[in-house]
Amino acid sequence: MNKSAKIQSQKNGANSQTLQTMRKVEPYIWLLPSIILMCCMIMIPIVNVFRASVTEITKVGVYKEFNGLANYASILKEQTFWNTLQNTLIWTVVVVGVSTVFGFILALVLNVEFKGRKFVRALIVFPWATALIIQSVVWKYIINADYGALNALLYNLGIIDKYVNWTATPGAFFAWECFIGIFVTIPFVTFCVLSGLQSIDTSLYEACDMDGANFFQKLFKVTLPLVMPSLTVSTVLNIIYVFNSFPIVWTISKGDPADQTHTLVTYLYDLSFSNGKFGEAAAVSVIGFVILAVCASIYMIMTLRAERED
């Protein structure tokens, strides 16, 4: 090999090395804007909330000095916090649980061929497609005892002979909030499950039929295991959405009467913007974040493990 060919070969080697390095780096360069955006929009607020939770903040939002765990201690000794935590757990379990069951059943129904199926599918999307705040306001007017549509309807139909106060107690308020939460969450579960159902090979059901399996055997041995990934995704997302849901509770009751219908999110909003307790509100936010992270992780791990074992 003469000298110039050797140099050319070295050059080619260097070029190919640069190309290889570039190829390795290139995806990260493309990802960089998203990473920067995520840092700005997600990480910085999270870090700020953690910082606020260990800082003394005045009622108008001026940051003072580091105060350790004083905000956490102040919150944990409040009875309202513990009531709110209990409400949040009930709210999440009831809304996610009931909407998952009903959403699953509805998906099974919608997976069967029948006349008008497309129309029904479109109809079911409505509660999900409409803004939560609008739905909440509408429901607030429907259930109002004095001028609400529900009383007027029942009265005119002769079902009730005098107007009923549907929100007489905090429990009644909270039950309505759960009902509205379920109503708006069902479509999401339905469509997640429906997408899973449609990916199941029909030959599996044919094989079951040949083996003489009944409806429930097919449901528990074929359908459920195969839609489990879709169900897992919808449940985890629902836990996060419902746990952090603000519009329904805030619009219907603002956490009242006497702070008895708060969930953690409305409670921390009320603490910060109505009571000027920003440090305590940040502490509640951190507690909620930790609870949610732990619950979602446990659920994911358990489900993935179960799937692997299967």
Binding site: T58, V60, V62, D146
Partner: protein, 423 residues
């Protein structure tokens, strides 16, 4: 080509970021003003004011932002947290801003003529520790509104003047009209539950503070007043959801003729209402609630010492706003009472010269202003100048809700609140 586009984009970004800054730009002083939204047409009035003010003061760039009452506290707090407070703010309550050392004393920026023009009681109502920290922007007073037609139909000849008469009237209305008419409007929601506390406690002889100005929340009169509120609910005399109903749906119900009595502001009746009503003193001692919102000036967060050019611009802003014609026009436009001497006098005689906000073309009524301006001195105001006011405000709402839900007694709840505030 790509490089040129990139450079242009970066330049655009830098320029837009630079434009976000306040202070002095291009030799002009920039004033950021946040105004509370009093009605559907607030924005239109301030847009006009901004245009006229900038035409008359070419060295000042005025930016007026209208924010709804629902959002204003969160908007302002968020801006303060980011060190981006406005120069001038219109809100209700100033003690917390003073406590955080954010405000300029009013004497530093108000011209002598403007200061002299304020009605004394309003000017003094913004005093805290011997310093006036804010300026009264407007006032309103609350009275008892009764639907005379409904009362007469129920056999009640005159509006109630005592709390016992209120109960009698409510019972008569309930018996006569059943579910179709709500006898008494009550709002003990977090929105304005402190107003309800004021109406009842003041007129039972109690209130927030004693004669020395110390908190006196657990007085016997206050206990009696809170128990009365509970009676109204327990007997089914008021709207079904007083914990969440704000006064706005109640005002609508009164204007529509489905609510017989409620305590509310003087401008609460909607323009298209046909109900026969009268506004009378609140039963009991006849003490009305006076509401006075403020304009306050923030220190410049970016400067150690007050910039004379900024202070001068602020002075010009207030002089322009409180100028008799402009200020009188704004009061009629929004339907509130003025806090200055010359505007009070002017509107008591010439309110018809000014137009009410909206497309109706309606004008002000001199009789209305003369009546309500005369009522203002008999009104009591919230003790907003006390540093604990926000805690007390939220505390009394909590007391009302807990007592009315039967979770505790009025005495226990008020004792606990008094201990918390005093401790």
């Amino acid at each position: 080509m790509k490089k040129i586009v990139s450079v242009l984009l970066i330049l655009a970004m830098v320029l837009s970021l630079a434009a976000c800054g306040g202070g002095e730009t291009g030799g002009k002083v920039t004033l950021d003003v946040i105004i509370s939204q009093y009605g559907n047409y607030t924005q239109a009035w301030w847009t006009e004011f901004e245009k006229d003010f900038e035409a008359a003061n070419t060295d000042i760039d005025l930016n007026v932002e209208i924010v709804s009452w629902n959002d204003i506290y969160s908007v302002v707090t968020t801006r303060i947290s980011n060190n981006e407070q406005p120069d001038i703010l219109n809100i209700s309550g100033f003690a917390d801003y003073v406590a955080s050392d954010l405000l300029m004393p009013a004497e530093e920026y108000v011209s002598e003529a403007t200061k002299e023009n304020f009605i004394d009681s309003f000017w003094e109502s913004n005093e805290m520790d011997g310093t006036v920290w804010a300026l009264p922007i407007l006032a309103s007073c609350r009275a008892l509104f009764v639907n005379t037609e409904l009362l007469e139909g129920a056999g009640i000849a005159a509006a109630p003047t005592t709390w016992d008469e209120v109960l009698t009237a409510c019972e008569a209305i309930k018996t006569t009209y059943g579910d179709s008419i709500i006898p008494w409007g009550l709002d003990i929601s977090t929105d304005e539950g402190q107003a309800a506390f004021s109406y009842y406690t003041w007129n039972f002889g109690g209130g927030f503070v004693d004669e020395e100005g110390n908190w006196a929340l657990n007085s016997a009169e206050n206990v009696e007043a809170v128990e009365f509120i509970k009676t109204l609910i327990d007997k089914g005399y008021c709207n079904s959801a007083p914990y969440t109903d704000t006064r706005y749906p109640l005002q609508d119900a009164f204007s529509a003729g489905t609510l017989a009595m409620m305590i509310g502001p003087m401008n609460m009746i909607s323009a298209d209402s046909t109900v026969q009503y009268e506004a009378v003193n609140i039963p009991g001692l006849g003490i009305g609630l006076g509401v006075c919102d403020q304009l306050m000036t923030f220190k410049d967060p970016k400067a150690e010492e007050a910039d004379p050019a900024r202070t001068e611009a602020i002075t010009k802003f207030y002089d322009a706003f409180y100028e008799c014609e402009t200020y009188s026009g704004y009061m009629v436009y929004e339907g509130f009472l003025p806090a200055t001497e010359d505007a009070s006098e002017n509107l008591s005689k010439n309110a018809e010269k000014y137009t009410v906000g909206g497309d109706s073309g309606a004008t002000g009524s001199s009789e209305y202003f003369a009546t309500f301006c005369a009522t203002l001195p008999t009104c009591s105001f919230y003790p907003m100048q006390k540093a604990e006011w926000m805690d007390v405000r939220n505390g009394v709402i909590d007391v009302e809700q807990k007592v009315c839900q039967g979770l505790t007694t009025a005495q226990e709840a008020l004792d606990a609140l008094q201990a918390q505030v005093s401790g």
